[in-house]
Symmetry: C2
Subunit: 307 residues, 2 copies
């Protein structure tokens, strides 16, 4: 089973508390790290979780509120001190470069690596990044300022070879790639061995969506339909629904309703308001609507899929 997991660096909302850092996660897909939001102290938690700085080349910012991005200055400085080379890409709205670049130029002049900004449009649901193993799509959300979530989708995997059958038919190594790509095999005697006899299907690619910050917004449902894991903000409980509406955040019940309507496999709550000393109430509230719900907790790792 190939690694696809979510590291929770911080799951608080605007005010950090003695228990919770500001928002930040690291998606680990087959040991490549993708940071999502970067609240103050993200680099500290990154280190506390034993993550490998050299594996980080992409940071995705959902929106430009300080509690989601003030950790970027320290993190980028630290990467430089640790000798990073090559490129780091910040996927964010156009304002990000305008605001962050002068600070980086002042504090991190002579950087050993290149910081590139990939400008994204938070109003569109579109592919914003792709590599061999992963596609990332933006998910327009509804918050006080332009905000988008992110859908992380594993690329389709090649089927697995059935070793015994391949040996039996003496398939040459050089033909193995064609077989993986779906070709049948023709033996020396002209016998056609259909592909399904030589391979068994790969696991279905897994999908993870990060939706924060947002009020209850049904337009995201078709984008996240049936995914393995949905992170949805649950800043408030239903007793503070008025405050949620005013600040354009969600309640735990609203997050669960989205999860239920989208038919996702599992729901992960986070971005908890500092007003709740315990988040158990939020969990119970969500579970009434969507039983397979869990809470984010600092320095925990949550696998995507497989349950």
């Amino acid at each position: 089973m190939e690694k696809f997991e979510i590291n929770i660096l911080g799951c608080g909302s605007a005010l950090p508390t003695t228990k919770r850092f500001n928002c930040s996660q690291v998606v680990n897909l087959r040991d490549k790290l993708y940071m999502v939001d970067c609240g103050e102290g993200a680099q500290i938690q990154f280190r506390n979780m034993g993550l490998n700085f050299s594996r980080l080349n992409h940071i995705f910012l959902s929106h430009l509120h300080g509690d989601h991005c003030f950790g970027i200055f320290g993190l980028l400085s630290t990467l430089n001190l640790l000798g990073k080379s090559g490129e780091l890409v910040i996927h964010a709205q156009p304002d990000a470069e305008k605001i962050f670049r002068p600070v980086l130029d002042y504090f991190c002049s002579g950087m050993l690596y290149n910081v590139k900004f990939n400008s994204i449009d938070p109003l569109k649901n579109e592919l914003i990044f792709e590599d061999k193993t992963l596609k990332v799509y933006s998910i327009p959300l509804k918050h006080k300022i332009p905000t988008c979530g992110f859908l992380f989708e594993e690329s389709a995997k090649q089927p697995h070879i059935i070793r015994d059958m391949v040996d039996f038919y003496q398939v040459p190594v050089k033909q193995m790639n064609e077989i993986k790509n779906g070709a049948d095999f023709i033996t020396e005697t002209g016998e056609i061995v259909p592909n399904y006899k030589l391979t068994f299907p790969a696991e279905t690619p897994k999908k993870y969506a990060y939706c924060s910050d947002t009020m209850y917004y049904e337009k995201i449902i078709p984008i996240i339909e049936g995914i393995d894991l949905l992170y949805h903000e649950a800043t408030f409980c239903e007793c503070d629904a008025m405050r949620a509406r005013q600040t354009k955040h969600s309640t735990a019940r609203q997050a669960a309703t989205i999860a239920q309507k989208a038919g996702v496999k599992k729901l992960l709550l986070g971005h908890f308001s500092a007003r709740y000393p315990s988040t158990e109430k939020l969990l119970l509230e969500a579970k009434e609507i969507f039983p397979n719900t869990i809470l984010s907790d600092e320095k925990t790792v949550i696998p995507v899929g497989n349950d």
Copy 2:
């Protein structure tokens, strides 16, 4: 005894570690708080130490390296969310306003309080701030970029009234201030009661100096002569003296030599390089030269004077 103490929020150097935050301290003088440097996570440690955000109105920045000031964005946002009113003054070099203001304007528009920058010249030893209880002077240091330390000096205190004597001579309440300011008292019968019979002297005002970052620099000695507590950076131990020289930092031995030559009462070391898992070696090295040395440690409070 009136409160004068140093809260250690962070005492690491450029790279935060799992044990140490970046540099930040809070000077608490009679429950008014003055922050000195503001590395990433300062607001988190501020909260962890149970300090009162509403008591903080001044931040002093020694120099514009990220590990000494990247916490300022989050801290200022948090103060706003907590409903701060009035004014907060950042005492720093002129570049600070140029760099920080656009970020604050973008992320904290509509702030409830006013952020004022007091521009200081790090090359001069001069009075940069004064209120009823405190004077703060800049201390030019020698580092890679313009840097200054800060001397915190309690204002002279009024002498204490000897209650029994004042009662005996029936000094009217309205004359009490004059007595505190040194006046003699003349009784109704014309008898002169000299001031020394009515008062006893206040404690000597205490002094604390913060000197970071700097290489060994004897020019600071006359400024810090005889003070109660000296914080001096000790990024390296003597075995890394070459590295200290290259990076314009100090060794523990050099910090102790400054303390000894300046005849300070106590030395507090900090700004430890991430390369030392234990800082005991730095302490031993300093104590050989200056026995009354202690180490900074996260979330500890160190009184100024009284020992």
